[in-house]
C-alpha cells in the first residue's frame, strides 16, 4: 500500500524527505502559498530533483488562502494548469462553500480552522461529494493546540467526519507539517481518522488510495493525457 501526505510545508526539503521516507511514505505533496508564485515554480524544480534523488513521489501543491470568492477563483485559474494539487485553506464558511462547489479544487484544508463551529454543513459536504472535492483532517491542528482548544478541534473534526460519511465525501488525513518535525507516520494519521469515526478500511484509504488516485489523475491531466472526463490518451 502506498501512503501519501498531501499537506506538508517543507522549510528544509532534504530533511523532510528523509524523515518521510523513514516514516514509510511513498509520496508527499509539498505546499506553497498562492501568494508566492515564483517560489512555487522554484519549488517544483527542486521537487523534481529531490524526487529523482530520493525515489519518493514529490508533487508541488498550492494552498490558496483566499479572503474572498473572487480571489479564490482568480488563484484557481492561475494555478490549476501548473499545480499537481490545489488546496484551499478553509476557515471561512463562504470560502469553504465556494471551494466545495468548484471541481478544480482538490482538497479543502482544515475547514474548521479557528472557528467556533465545524466550518461545513450538509450543503457544503454534499457539493464537495458531487464535485469530487476532498475534505482534510489536519493532524497539525492537534499538535499546535492544547486541552480546551484541542477538544473543540476534535469535536469539529468528528462532526465533519460524520457529515462526510453521510454524503460519501472523500476524506484525506494529512499531517499539515510546517517542517520535518511535524510529520507523523501514515498509520498514526489513519488512527486519528479511526478514533474520529471512520472504519479501519476507510481510514487507511484516507492516507493511501484516495490521495494516490488524486495525485495520479492530476499528473495525467497536467501531462495532457486526460482530454475530457472519461476520455484518456493511452500510451
Amino acid at each position: 500500500m502506498k501512503f501519501y501526505d498531501l499537506h506538508v510545508h517543507a522549510q528544509d526539503l532534504e530533511k523532510t524527505v528523509e524523515v518521510a521516507a523513514t516514516l514509510g511514505f511513498s509520496g508527499l505533496a509539498v505546499v506553497e502559498y498562492h501568494q508566492k508564485f515564483d517560489a512555487f515554480r522554484e519549488l517544483r524544480k527542486r521537487l523534481r530533483d529531490a524526487s529523482q534523488k530520493s525515489g519518493l513521489e514529490l508533487v508541488g501543491a498550492v494552498e490558496i488562502q483566499a479572503d474572498s470568492i473572487k480571489t479564490l477563483k482568480r488563484a484557481l485559474a492561475k494555478y490549476r494548469e501548473i499545480a499537481e494539487l490545489v488546496l484551499v485553506s478553509g476557515g471561512d464558511y463562504a470560502i469553504n462553500r465556494a471551494a466545495a462547489e468548484d471541481g478544480r479544487v482538490d482538497v479543502i484544508a482544515h475547514p474548521e480552522f479557528k472557528r467556533v463551529d465545524s466550518g461545513i454543513d450538509h450543503v457544503v459536504t454534499q457539493s464537495a461529494a458531487q464535485n469530487g472535492v476532498a475534505l482534510e483532517l489536519n493532524m497539525g491542528e492537534l499538535l499546535t493546540t492544547y486541552k480546551r482548544v484541542r477538544t473543540h478541534v476534535l469535536n469539529h473534526m468528528e462532526r465533519n467526519v460524520m457529515l462526510c460519511k453521510e454524503f460519501g465525501t472523500p476524506i484525506v488525513v494529512t499531517s499539515g507539517a510546517k517542517d520535518a518535525w511535524g510529520l507523523r507516520d501514515p498509520r498514526e494519521l489513519a488512527a486519528l481518522a479511526q478514533i474520529l469515526g471512520l472504519t479501519l478500511e476507510e481510514s487507511m484509504r484516507a492516507v493511501s488510495d484516495t490521495c494516490e488516485a488524486r495525485v495520479q489523475a492530476n499528473k495525467k491531466k497536467l501531462a495532457g493525457k486526460i482530454l475530457y472526463k472519461g476520455v484518456e490518451v493511452e500510451e
Binding site: 524523515v19 523513514t22 492537534l142 486541552k147 518535525w181 494519521l189 478514533i195
Partner: protein, 128 residues
Amino acid sequence: MADKPKTLPPTLREKKRYLAFEIISEKPLRFDAIVDAFWNALLTLLGELGTARTNVWFVKDAWDEKRQRGLVRCGHVQVENVRVALALITSIGGVRVIPHSLGVSGTMEGARKKFLGERTLKDFADET
C-alpha cells in the same frame, strides 16, 4: 490462604496488545522522560477515565536505548487511542521528537522479535 488473587482463566483475562514504537529525536532520550511525556499525552487526550481504560503499561526491559525503540502494552480495543496519543507528542524535555509506531503484536515475544530485532536462544539453536 493465598495472599494474592488467583490468576484469571484465559477467557476472563483482558486481551493485550504490544505496540512497538520508535522515537526520532534531535538527541537520544531517557526512558523515564519518554514515559512521562507519554502519560501526559494520554491524560490530555483521553482524560483519566479514558487512560484507565487503555490499561497501559510501559515495558522497561524492552527499551532499546541505542535505537530509541520500545514497547507499550495496552488493551486490544485501545490500540488506536494509544497510537494517536503517542503521535501527539511533539517535544520531550525541550527536544523535538517524532514518535513513530512500528507495529502491533499480541505477545511480547513476537513484538520483541519482529520490531526490536531481538533473538532468542531458540533462534540461535535453529540457525546452528
